[in-house]
């Protein structure tokens, strides 16, 4: 009788365990190997790395004050589970998740947040927003162990977004006590973070190794035991490594997608990671007054001449989308995305007949000469092909395009000095980020580097309207009014046809399905640094055939 009871009890416990604990949930095994084209500065100190490097490999071991909305993309909870703006708009209070620890066991507290932000703003920081942070952040106060307040010099509505890895790397949280104890040099050699992966080894020019934390983590407990991020600059080699199983995942460009698929690899496309655009430089300048591109309708005609679907199909192998207006995406904050999608579908249509008609009406029935600078930011070589396709399409409506190709490092000084680019069109790109005002400021503010609508000496109607809207947006605390102002900002600039989106691009990865299970990336986030912990092993979630 006793045996029978024991047997039934054992079976019941086994049944309960089997039902409540999914298979393999407790196991962490195997190595996840990821091959990437660049490891940036390949340093594990967040103040020495830029955005892409931070997102690829630093995100693996550091958490960010503000994180991601994993469903929609864009900003969501991170180390702080919530945050609120003071009624006067001059302070943000961040409330941290309880129970977070660094890899050495130290508790993650508001003191670490204050220390990390101040370190990012410090004189030795190479953070791209260090100077802006110094100007806009007045002080950082620890209210209590899990509450920190950031006082700003003026209303900074976009501050949480700026401290989210969805936008920038400056929100990475570092261990105050550890760095103060061992010093910066030692911290760089043996870095400690609070993310789901712990640092193991950094081999310059070759790889960075991590191992999974064994305790639960709010970002997810890794299914693999180890993670190795390999630096493999050549794309063909990366794909070969995935084919042979030397790597499980490799970043690829759209031009490699077909080959990877034919070779039996799975191709993962991450939506909304960038926008390819063309833009016109200095159209408001007196010296461009008589140029065709000084006319809004001519610029619109050039947009109508572009068959975006053809570019998507043939340059991007079908893995791209028709765009929203400039620098906006489905996940853009405070923005009427659906309304603008409908607008963009109509406005960015292909209508070469209308394009030619507009040109004729504007006095250019036989087209005109246009200088077009084709360039691509690092890691987006396909942009050159898009630029070439666009030039061809303009040629078809009679534009005599002089196409000049620039390597990005050579193009950037032209952009800054502007002189050589005035009166030109060029290719450009915008990264997928949820905060449109930041990017708009970089393109349209009269003080910005690009200053596409006007400069401080010459700010005409559209420029003035943009400045007025952007200023109002910067201090608007009400969410509904903020959305209306963002929409207005988009409307003002879109109607100038100064920066015109061509397509919304994606991030692409070749995957060996025998090495990793099915997973999704985060919309708008090209890099996988915040995704590795959610990648299952192949037996846990096989890819659909």
């Amino acid at each position: 009788m006793f045996r029978k009871i024991a047997r039934v009890a054992t079976l019941s416990v086994a049944l309960v365990v089997a039902v409540t604990v999914p298979p393999h949930a407790q196991e962490q095994k195997g190595a996840l190997v990821f091959a990437v084209e660049s490891l940036g500065a390949q340093t594990l100190d967040p103040i020495l790395e830029g955005r892409p490097g931070n997102a690829v490999y630093q995100a693996v071991m550091y958490d960010s004050l503000v994180g991601f909305d994993l469903e929609k993309g864009g900003v969501g909870p991170g180390v702080a589970e919530r945050w609120e703006l003071a009624p006067d708009g001059l302070a943000w209070t961040f409330y941290l998740r309880p129970g977070q620890t660094f890899h050495n066991g130290d508790k993650l507290t508001a003191h670490d947040v204050k220390f990390s932000l101040e370190r990012q703003m410090g004189p030795n920081s190479l953070a791209s927003a260090a100077a802006s942070m110094r100007r806009t952040i007045k002080s950082i106060e620890v209210i209590e162990d899990l509450t920190v307040r950031v006082q700003t010099t003026s209303p900074q509505i976009g501050l949480p977004a700026g401290l989210s890895r969805a936008v920038a790397p400056e929100g990475a949280i570092m261990p105050k006590a550890y760095i103060e104890r061992v010093g910066e040099e030692e911290f760089r050699k043996k870095p400690i973070g609070s993310g789901p992966w712990k640092f193991v080894r950094n081999v310059p020019g070759d790889r960075i190794e991590f191992t999974a934390v064994t305790t639960p983590h709010w970002r997810g407990r890794p299914q693999f035991k180890d993670l190795t991020i390999l630096l493999v600059p050549e794309e063909s080699t990366r794909v070969a490594m995935v084919r042979t199983g030397e790597a499980a995942i490799a970043s690829i460009g759209p031009e490699t997608m077909l080959g990877a698929t034919r070779a039996g690899l799975e191709v993962l496309s991450v939506p909304g990671t960038m926008q390819a655009v063309f833009q016109f430089w200095g159209t408001y300048k007196p010296e461009v007054k008589d140029s065709p591109i000084a006319k809004v309708r001519v610029r619109q005609a050039l947009s109508l001449a572009i068959d975006r679907q053809q570019v998507i199909e043939h340059v991007m192998n079908g893995k791209a989308r028709r765009p929203h207006p400039f620098a906006t995406f489905a996940y853009t904050d405070y923005f009427s995305a659906d309304r603008w999608k409908k607008w963009a579908d109509e406005a960015y249509r292909y209508d070469p007949v209308l394009a030619k008609k507009i040109l004729a009406e504007e006095g250019y029935p036989n087209g005109f000469e246009l200088k077009f600078a084709n360039t691509a930011l690092p890691g987006t070589q396909f942009m050159v092909n898009i630029g070439t396709a666009v030039a061809d399409m303009w040629t078809k409506i009679g534009i005599k395009v002089t196409l000049k190709h620039y390597e990005w490092g050579s193009f950037a000084p032209l952009e800054r000095n502007q002189g050589p680019l005035i009166g030109w069109a060029s290719m450009y790109r915008t990264a997928g980020r949820p905060d449109a005002p930041w990017r708009y400021d970089g393109a349209f503010s009269p003080e910005s580097i690009q200053r596409l609508l006007g400069d401080t000496d010459n700010c005409q109607e559209a420029c003035q309207e943009y400045v007025k809207t952007a200023r109002a947006l910067g201090s608007e605390l009400d969410k509904t009014k903020r959305t209306a102002l963002t929409d207005r900002m988009v409307e003002v600039t879109a109607n100038t046809w100064t920066v015109v989106p061509i397509l919304e691009g994606m991030g692409y990865y070749a995957i060996n399905t025998k090495q990793v299970g099915q997973f999704d990336a985060i919309a708008g986030r090209h890099e996988l640094g915040d995704v590795f912990e959610r990648i299952p092993r192949p037996e846990q979630k096989p890819w659909k055939k």
Binding site: S128, E234, S410
Partner: protein, 305 residues
């Protein structure tokens, strides 16, 4: 000989000064590293602050003066990207390249010299033309193409060898073949020319008259003398290997100084680029000097001249 070495050393110093100056100014003509470090929506304020932090804000001649002053003391600056002393970064990666070179040279000699001998002995025949074809292919095939082709065949299709990265002996095979391919042609052509010249020599005719077998005449007497000009090419070939390693190391994800050079150029990492080029120049100059001294010892005619 001492005067010869001293003169060569002086020439080397002058050359290094010229290389350093050219790299300093040419590098800066290609753009600014800050443009590659900042996101596209960076403000002018953030950009200016980063330029200042990196010490790139002064007039270019002032920067050059600082560079020269520090270089004289052996400090070639700190890598902008890695925040590590540039010399240290170079020497961290140098061993990874050096382990490839002897194998590439050895393989090239093992293939190139016998091919050159066979071509010379069978001058004008099918074998000569076949060896010539090998030489042309070796020179004409771009390293990146050959490397990718080898990866496709031996890693992806046959699964015999790894696709890239440093590791055990198997990891060396494809990079070494890729590096050696260019040299095979060089060794073959110089051996062939030297052999043809030596084979017309009086002492070779004498050896044949004495009744020595053709094998001994060719492989012992002719080849030994023909190898002297081959030796002089060592310096050139090692220089080619060190510079050619940029492509091979990039294709095979090999973390050597070739890749470091590539990264320095791509990221406009001026201090690192300057250090890499200057240190590579020192390396190549030293090897060339060593080879020339060795050559002088091997061939007394050089010493007398």
């Amino acid at each position: 000989m001492k005067r010869y070495i001293a003169r060569r050393l002086m020439q080397g110093v002058v050359l290094l000064c010229m290389v350093g100056t050219i790299v300093f100014f040419l590098g800066r003509l290609t753009g600014n590293p800050v443009d590659l470090m900042m996101p596209e929506d960076a403000t002018a304020e953030d950009r200016a602050a980063l330029i200042q932090t990196l010490g790139l804000d002064g007039p270019i001649l002032d920067q050059f003066a600082i560079f020269v002053g520090r270089a004289i003391q052996g400090d070639l600056g700190t890598s902008i990207r890695m925040r590590q002393p540039a010399v240290e970064a170079f020497f961290d990666r140098l061993p990874n390249t050096l382990v490839l070179l002897p194998w590439a040279i050895l393989l090239a000699m093992l293939l190139g010299i016998p091919l050159g001998v066979v071509a010379a002995v069978n001058r004008g025949s099918f074998l000569d033309r076949a060896a010539g074809t090998v030489a042309v292919l070796g020179i004409a095939m771009p390293s990146f193409w050959l490397g990718i082709l080898l990866i496709f065949v031996f890693s992806v299709e046959l699964g015999w060898l790894p696709s890239g990265r440093m590791g055990g002996p198997a990891h060396y095979v494809l990079p070494v073949i890729t590096l050696a391919a260019f040299l095979v042609a060089g060794f073959m052509r110089i051996t062939r020319s030297a052999m043809l010249e030596v084979m017309e020599s009086e002492f070779v005719k004498l050896a044949r008259i004495k009744g020595l077998s053709e094998g001994v005449v060719i492989w012992k007497h002719c080849l030994r003398n023909a190898l002297i000009p081959v030796l002089t090419l060592w310096g050139v070939f090692i220089g080619n290997l060190i510079t050619g390693a940029i492509v091979t190391e990039t294709v095979f994800a090999w973390p050597g100084i070739g890749r470091l050079t590539y990264e320095a150029v791509i990221y406009r990492d001026f201090p690192l680029l300057q250090a890499v080029i200057i240190l590579k120049s020192i390396l190549i100059l030293s090897i060339n000097l060593g080879v020339d001294i060795l050559y002088a010892y091997v061939d007394p005619r050089i010493r007398l001249a």
